[in-house]
């Protein structure tokens, strides 16, 4: 299949960007979206031009590095699929595909399709962990956890931090990411001692950079891991409770 790509090219963080048009010819419908870009880049390198910069790592849909806006949809048209797992059979011969980086104040563009997602790291650093004394591992099943709780915590832990939720949100809000990172700890016994402090800290850091939730639900639709906005409601509840109970500075 032959495709026309309109790709956002931007030389650096403070450089002006623009769309460039590229022809992708003889693309196999079995190739992934990133493999298609690899072939385009191969052609660019052979012609002595700068290849299109994009992020990728595992290429099996679990690392969360390969996000990009494809025809206005985060990770492209196929639901619950990362860009690397999107295959060209989702497109038709002769299609024009518009490819852009995530756009949000929290995700400044570094180059072409690559954005800086370290704002997510700052949210996690502020409380997305549990403090435990190291030592020998405790016996398995020493801490009983109801199956439902374990399942819900696992659903939240499926978040790969790709940033599609922020990219899809008209408010540039990181509620879905933050609430998933909170919920996978706040739902489990191990997360309880630091629950209030964690919630206040992570919400605080989130609000320094990202927007506010208007309950559009676009994040849930864009999430390649199908994280539910129920976790956002849980975060709101935990945050209110934490504000009322936590004695900061005491």
């Amino acid at each position: 299949m032959n495709l026309t790509l309109r790709v956002w090219r931007q030389a650096g963080p403070s450089e002006p960007g623009r769309f460039e048009t590229y022809e992708a010819t003889d693309v196999s419908e079995d190739s992934s979206f990133l493999e298609m870009l690899d072939l385009v880049n191969d052609g660019l390198i052979r012609r002595g031009e700068e290849p299109i910069e994009f992020m990728h790592d595992c290429r099996e849909g679990i690392c969360g590095t390969c996000g990009m806006m494809i025809d206005g949809q985060a990770h492209g048209p196929q639901a619950r699929t990362t860009t690397c797992q999107l295959h060209m059979r989702s497109f038709s011969d002769g299609d024009e595909i518009v490819i852009e980086p995530w756009r949000a104040a929290g995700f400044p563009v570094l180059k072409d399709l690559v954005v800086d997602r370290s704002a997510f790291d700052r949210i996690v650093e502020s409380g997305g962990y549990i403090s435990v004394e190291t030592g020998s591992a405790q016996d398995a099943n020493l801490t009983p956890i109801p199956k439902d709780d374990a399942d819900r915590a696992m659903d939240a832990a499926a978040c790969i931090g790709c940033g599609a939720c922020v990219a899809a949100c008209p408010n540039g809000a990181a509620q879905l990411f933050t609430s998933a990172k909170l919920a996978h700890l706040n739902l489990l016994p191990q997360g309880q001692p630091e629950r209030s402090r964690r919630t206040l800290a992570m919400v605080g850091v989130m609000e320094e950079t990202f927007g506010s939730c208007t309950n559009y639900g676009e994040c849930e639709a864009a999430c390649p891991k199908g994280i539910s906005i129920d976790f956002i409601a849980m975060m709101n509840r935990d945050h209110r409770r934490a504000l009322m109970t936590e004695r900061r500075g005491a």
């Binding site: 756009r103 104040a105 208007t214 849980m234 504000l243 500075g249």
Partner: protein, 240 residues
């Protein structure tokens, strides 16, 4: 409650809880939800009370008089009414100011638009137009008060009863149409707002979640259905 520590290490007075709440964007959303709930209670009571329009002019005017003498003589005449008005004004101010500040925050958080055709995937019309329906309802509210509370733009003669004022106002077709448009905007605002407040307040559970949409739809249908019926009834001559 948060406390602050000054340079010398001495603990100063704790920051009031509401201020701590208001400083965070999540807190502004709680306050928008709470002030929204106050508004919902008022809107429902307003619609139910106005159904007296169908009973008789006397019943309707007596209801208006009852509101003025609510809790009298415990409170002075119009005392309870003015207290309720104060609560409503406060709720409205909180709702509008928080919305404006959050909108500004969201614009800053998403300064650049997508150049490609970026359409909403799941967000419905009501959710996307909250800011506009909110503004329309606010402008309408100003007119509505000038019309029927203060009487500045009401066509009824001086000293007319509340019933006569309503009929005089709704008899003008453009004004009846204005009420229909404003209620359509209010309906869209409620349809998203009633559902949305459960998310903002964190009122979510597997059993309850499917009911939230139904509740929002039913509330909107009842309130807007009732509100729309008044100008239509006057226009059709059912209420005259």
């Amino acid at each position: 409650m948060a406390t602050t520590t000054d340079a010398a290490g001495a603990t100063t007075r704790p920051t009031p809880f509401l201020l701590v709440l208001y400083r965070s964007a999540l807190g502004k959303k709680y306050l928008m939800a709470v002030s929204g709930i106050v508004g919902l209670g008022y809107i429902l009571a307003h619609m139910l009370g106005n159904l007296k329009l169908y009973q008789s002019p006397e019943a309707f005017n007596a209801y208006a008089e009852f509101l003025r003498r609510l809790l009298y003589p415990i409170l002075p005449e119009s005392g309870a009414l003015n207290l309720l008005r104060a609560v409503l004004v406060l709720a409205l101010v909180v709702h509008v100011v928080a919305a404006a500040q959050l909108t500004a925050l969201n614009r800053r958080a998403r300064p650049e638009r997508y150049r490609s055709r970026r359409d909403y995937v799941v967000a419905d019309f009501a959710a996307r137009t909250m800011r506009w329906t909110g503004v329309i309802v606010l402008l309408f509210l100003a007119y509505h008060l000038a019309d029927l509370t203060w009487g500045w733009v009401n066509p009824a003669p001086e000293g007319a009863t509340v019933y006569d004022k309503v009929v005089a106002s709704f008899s003008r077709t453009p004004i009846a149409a204005l009420y229909l448009v404003a209620n359509a905007a209010l309906g869209a605002h409620l349809f998203h707002g009633v559902w949305s407040l459960f998310q903002s307040m964190g009122w979510s559970s597997p059993r309850f979640d499917p009911v939230r949409r139904t509740l929002a739809t039913a509330f909107t249908a009842v309130v807007i259905g009732g509100n729309l019926s008044f100008p239509i009834a006057v226009q059709l001559g059912i209420v005259a």
